[in-house]
């Protein structure tokens, strides 16, 4: 029987050996992507597509399984990932800025330093919409209505997400004051607008572009026009510096050996050169957009700062 | 006299528990912003008031009614049953689902009167293996794993 000290020495030895072993033949067992949302949602479907291409480009014969750990806006899943063994076999999904919003408005046991940020794979810009036959058909109209003291209700998925942050920016840029109506999801916000129950809505492009017959797009909050909405000008074109999108990326627990992190990043880069992957992503109508680890980490930090500032100035709960 | 208190007691205890719980939750929710707190506190208030009314009602009626509810003599057995269930749940958390279920089915059956061991062991093994094949193998959804399996 081993005594405690011997066990400890063995463990330390094993831990010291682990990176070497891992470098030699990673991956040699199943990789789990822990998704913080339920099956069938956008984050889940994206993760399942990405999982299949990770299998292909990680150069091992391990398979990738998706595990849905739904709850608390993805916090439970990210807590699990932050506490997982940093061996590269547990990957987390991290949505910007939603996951950042949860770090600010909930008590969480992790921070940005708890993770190694890999790449982000989608970027779904926000758009401001009104009903098709509404008087407000452009940002100019909206600004005018606000100046005339018009009371407007704005539908959105919920507080502390990109739609909320975007709406805040619209408010201050156009001098408006909206009554926020949290409707639980993009689809519900758009539907409430179409039914005439709210005046405006901020939703993701992917949730609205199919409904061009019933919806006016006042602008897309991106640097360039959306491929799904070629005729809709961006906010920047109209003189407002508002960029907001939901990006989905992946993280590993902090302390994962650099060799493995690099292996992942190479796999993500290769994925975006694969036309099959791009085709699969376009079927889900979530705009694929690649940010490498550095660029994405930069975006995460910048957004984090902005969210913290907003929270300190004007907390939403 | 005894019969009366038997029928009366449980309802009284539950009413008091409900009243205490309502008050506790009202205190807990009092710190919330008004818009959030209004609805749950109103509901709790109604539950509390109704419980008081029920308490009074059952105290008044209790004298006329014979204590028919439940079988007081089996109370010990019920508590034992619930404890067994709890032990099983803790075992699921510690030992893992499959091991504890395999053990629980024959043991529980034996404890409560079914002692044909060869049958219950066989049935239990079959059932556990079936669940394993269905969940861990076919559906890729694992049930809790622990020290044993």
């Amino acid at each position: 029987m081993l005594n405690h000290r011997n066990k400890m020495t063995m463990m330390t030895g094993l831990v010291a050996l682990m990176p070497l072993v891992a470098q030699a033949d990673f991956p040699d067992e199943d990789i789990t992507i822990v998704v913080g949302y339920g099956p069938g949602g956008g984050t889940d479907i994206t993760a399942r597509v990405v999982g299949r291409y990770l299998e292909k480009y990680l150069d091992g014969d391990a398979s990738v399984v998706v595990k849905n750990v739904k709850g608390a806006g993805g916090v439970i899943a990210l807590t699990q990932v932050s506490r997982a063994d940093p061996d590269g076999y547990t990957v987390g999904t991290f949505n910007v800025p939603a996951s950042i919003g949860r770090m600010v408005d909930r008590k969480v046991s992790y921070d940005l330093d708890s993770f190694a940020f890999l790449s982000s794979v989608t970027s779904d810009p926000n758009t401001l919409i009104t009903q098709r036959d509404d008087d407000i058909a452009s940002l100019e109209d909206l600004k005018q209505t606000c100046a005339d003291g018009g009371q407007l209700t704005l539908g959105l998925a919920g507080y502390g997400g990109e739609d909320h942050f975007a709406a805040k920016q619209v408010e201050s840029a156009l001098g408006c004051h909206f009554t926020y109506v949290p409707l639980g999801g993009d689809g519900s916000a758009r539907t409430a607008l179409m039914g005439g129950h709210v005046d405006l809505a901020v939703v993701n492009v992917s949730a609205a572009y199919n409904y061009q017959d019933s919806v006016n797009f006042l602008g897309v909050m991106d640097e360039s026009r959306s491929e799904y909405l070629q005729d809709v000008p961006t906010f920047e074109e109209q003189g407002y510096d508002i960029d907001m999108a939901s990006t989905r990326g992946y993280v590993l627990p902090k302390g994962t050996p650099t060799a493995i992190v690099d292996q992942y990043n190479e796999a993500f880069a290769k994925m975006f050169e694969d036309p099959e992957f791009l085709k699969d992503m376009s079927r889900e109508a979530v705009p694929a957009a690649y940010l490498d680890a550095d660029a994405w980490k930069g975006l995460v930090e910048q957004q984090h700062q902005a969210v913290v500032e907003l929270w300190n100035r004007d907390p939403w709960k | 006299m005894k019969a009366i208190s038997k029928g009366l007691m449980p309802t009284v205890v539950v009413c008091i528990a409900l009243i205490v719980a309502s008050i506790a939750f009202i205190v807990m929710g009092a710190g919330l912003p008004l818009a959030s707190a209004m609805f749950p506190l109103a509901v709790l208030g109604v539950v509390g008031v109704l419980s008081v009314v029920l308490l009074v009602q059952s105290c008044l009626q209790g004298r006329q009614r014979e204590g028919g509810e439940g079988h007081p003599e089996s109370l010990g057995k019920v508590v034992l049953g619930l404890l067994c269930v709890l032990v099983y749940l803790v075992a699921v958390a510690r030992l893992g689902f499959y091991a504890s279920t395999f053990l629980m089915i024959p043991l529980m059956s034996a404890a409560f009167g079914y002692r044909r061991w060869e049958r219950s062991l066989f049935g239990s093994a079959l059932f556990t293996v079936m669940l394993y094949l269905l969940f861990d193998m076919a559906m890729g959804r694992s049930l809790p794993h622990g020290w044993l399996m």
């Binding site: 339920g38 069938g40 889940d44 479907i45 299949r52 595990k67 709850g71 608390a72 916090v75 909930r106 008590k107 209700t153 919920g158 502390g160 009554t179 949290p182 409707l183 519900s188 409430a192 039914g195 709210v198 199919n210 017959d213 019933s214 079927r283 | 449980p10 539950v14 939750f25 807990m28 919330l32 912003p33 818009a35 959030s36 707190a37 749950p40 509901v43 109604v46 539950v47 109704l50 089996s74 057995k77 019920v78 034992l80 049953g81 619930l82 269930v85 099983y88 749940l89 699921v92 689902f97 629980m104 089915i105 404890a111 409560f112 009167g113 079914y114 219950s120 969940f135 049930l143 809790p144």
Partner: protein, 502 residues
């Protein structure tokens, strides 16, 4: 449109597609019948595998699972008084008494035929009326949905038998449980004790398993030789076709329950399951022998089971036309559509007619198959369950309860929460507090609060918004009518009662 319907038919009648529907139906019956397992779980498990399947096969299997599970939920509801799904709670009211009287097979047949009829009605609604009904969904904003939930809450009051105080307390407990978690309107944590696992609220399934399954499990354990052996003996086993003939008189109930199921199904967010309570109450209200209801009236089973299948396809209508699913099952099924690149919206029907119309056919086929597959599975397999020695049966159900509670979020927290509700449920049950109002309270409580507060937000706290739209006024009129009629009927019957005794 009809051309597109015919065009999609040959593919659907291929062997692969039919087989997929059949497999789905059988799997669904099992998922529904095992307490805690659900169509939502089944379909979400299936989702990753559907990447490799053709859309027809994947969607067909899902349609089968959905239809099968809604009937499957009735099996334990009738045999053991443990509803397999929240939508089967109303089935226990008359189904279990029937089983106790030795008419379990009859109850199962009524449930089966009614489920199939509800499914057919729902499938037809989806096929013929999806776009127009989608625009009905648009008319239903928060105020209208608030009134619908008031309608549902009223049905709690009508459900209560015996001690009204106890019923109201039960309902209050349920409504309170619904408020636990992050408040959806202002994002504050309510009664979560700082636990992340309570942030999203308490799952109605966890509550359902605890409340309904724990008391019978404890009873089977501690009373191994209970007097309920009569269960197993069938008194009026008349054969399938004969009993079918005796059911034809339920046509009014079938029709009414189908309409209620479809109407509730197209409302987003309601979860569908409360429709069965409304349907049960309405059927009971218009029945001549309403005092026999709750004591083993087959028509009560018909009212509940028709309705819970009638919201299956209907809940896909807002999902496909507007991208907002009516039930949690519809939400995962929508995922199945997305995986195959089928985006919900007005273009869906234009761009992918074969898949969408094919899916509608599959819903109809699933209902028909249910009729043939369901009977044999239920009677041959599940009613044998009752012959198991009671302690063995109790421990097997106990392990299934753990499986059910665990697999919703894959956390042990839910398992212990289920135990807590179980102990609570056992105590309440022994003191004759009714369980159904608790479940209905959980389903409707949060829904009602949310829609009321959202209405107030939208109108700037002007209560006039509550009666300012045509649908709202219609709903209010219906509610008033319901109250007046119920009171009137009670008056009338008490008058008659007095006359007779005099």
């Amino acid at each position: 449109m009809f051309e597109a319907l015919w065009h999609s038919l040959p593919d659907i009648l291929s062997l692969g597609s039919l087989l997929a529907v059949a497999v789905g139906v059988v799997a669904g019956i099992f998922l529904g019948a095992l307490p805690g397992l659900s169509a939502t779980l089944g379909i979400s498990v299936l989702l990753p595998f559907t990447f490799g399947m053709s859309p027809q096969v994947a969607l067909g299997m899902m349609a089968g699972i959905y239809n099968g599970s809604m009937y499957g939920g009735a099996i334990p509801a009738i045999l053991l008084r443990i509803p397999g799904t929240p939508a089967a709670v109303a089935t226990t009211f008359d189904g279990y008494p029937m089983a106790q009287q030795g008419r379990a097979n009859k109850a199962l047949r009524v449930a089966l035929v009614s489920s199939a009829i509800g499914g057919l009605a729902s499938g037809l609604a989806l096929m013929l009326l999806a776009p127009p009904l989608g625009s009905v969904t648009l008319m239903f904003g928060p105020t209208e949905i608030f009134w619908v939930s008031v309608f549902g809450i009223l049905s709690i009051a009508l459900l209560i038998k015996g001690n009204a105080l106890k019923g109201l307390i039960s309902a209050g407990i349920g409504i309170f449980v619904a408020t636990v978690g992050i408040d959806p309107v202002s994002a504050n944590e309510r009664f979560t004790f700082g636990s992340l696992y309570l942030d999203d609220g308490i799952s109605v399934i966890v509550l359902l398993i605890g409340l309904y399954a724990m008391p019978p499990v404890i009873d089977t354990l501690v009373n191994p030789q209970s007097g309920e052996e009569s269960h197993a003996k069938e008194v009026d086993d008349e054969g399938f076709f004969k009993s079918l003939a005796s059911m034809l008189g339920y046509w009014k109930t079938w029709l009414r329950a189908s309409l209620i199921g479809i109407a509730v199904g197209i409302l987003p967010g309601a979860g569908g399951s409360f429709g069965t309570f409304i349907s049960y109450n309405e059927a009971k209200r218009s029945a001549r022998n309403s005092e026999a209801w709750g004591k083993g009236e087959p028509e009560g089973v018909a009212a509940a089971e028709t309705c819970n299948n009638a919201d299956t396809a209907a809940s896909m209508i807002p999902a496909l036309t507007l991208g907002i699913p009516g039930t949690s099952v519809a939400a995962v099924m929508l995922g199945g559509f997305l995986i195959h690149g089928l985006q919900p919206g007005p273009n869906l029907f234009r761009e992918h007619p074969d898949e969408v119309f094919g899916f509608m056919w599959q819903f109809l086929i699933a209902s028909v198959m249910l009729l043939f597959l369901g009977g044999s599975v239920a009677t041959r397999l599940f009613s044998k369950v009752l012959h198991l020695p009671r302690p063995l049966l109790g421990s097997i159900i106990l392990s299934l309860m753990v499986v059910g509670a665990y697999s919703i979020h894959e956390t042990l927290f839910d398992v212990f929460l289920m135990f807590g509700f179980g102990v609570f449920g056992y105590v309440l049950e022994k003191l004759k507090f009714p369980m159904a109002p608790i479940v209905l309270g959980v389903i409707l409580g949060g829904f009602m609060e949310y829609n009321f507060r959202i209405s107030m937000l939208m109108s700037g706290n002007d209560p006039a918004v509550l009666w300012s739209s045509a649908p709202s006024i219609v709903l209010i009129a219906m509610i008033v009518m319901l109250i007046v009629l119920t009171c009137f009927k009670q008056r009338l019957s008490s008058l008659i009662g007095k006359r007779l005794t005099n």
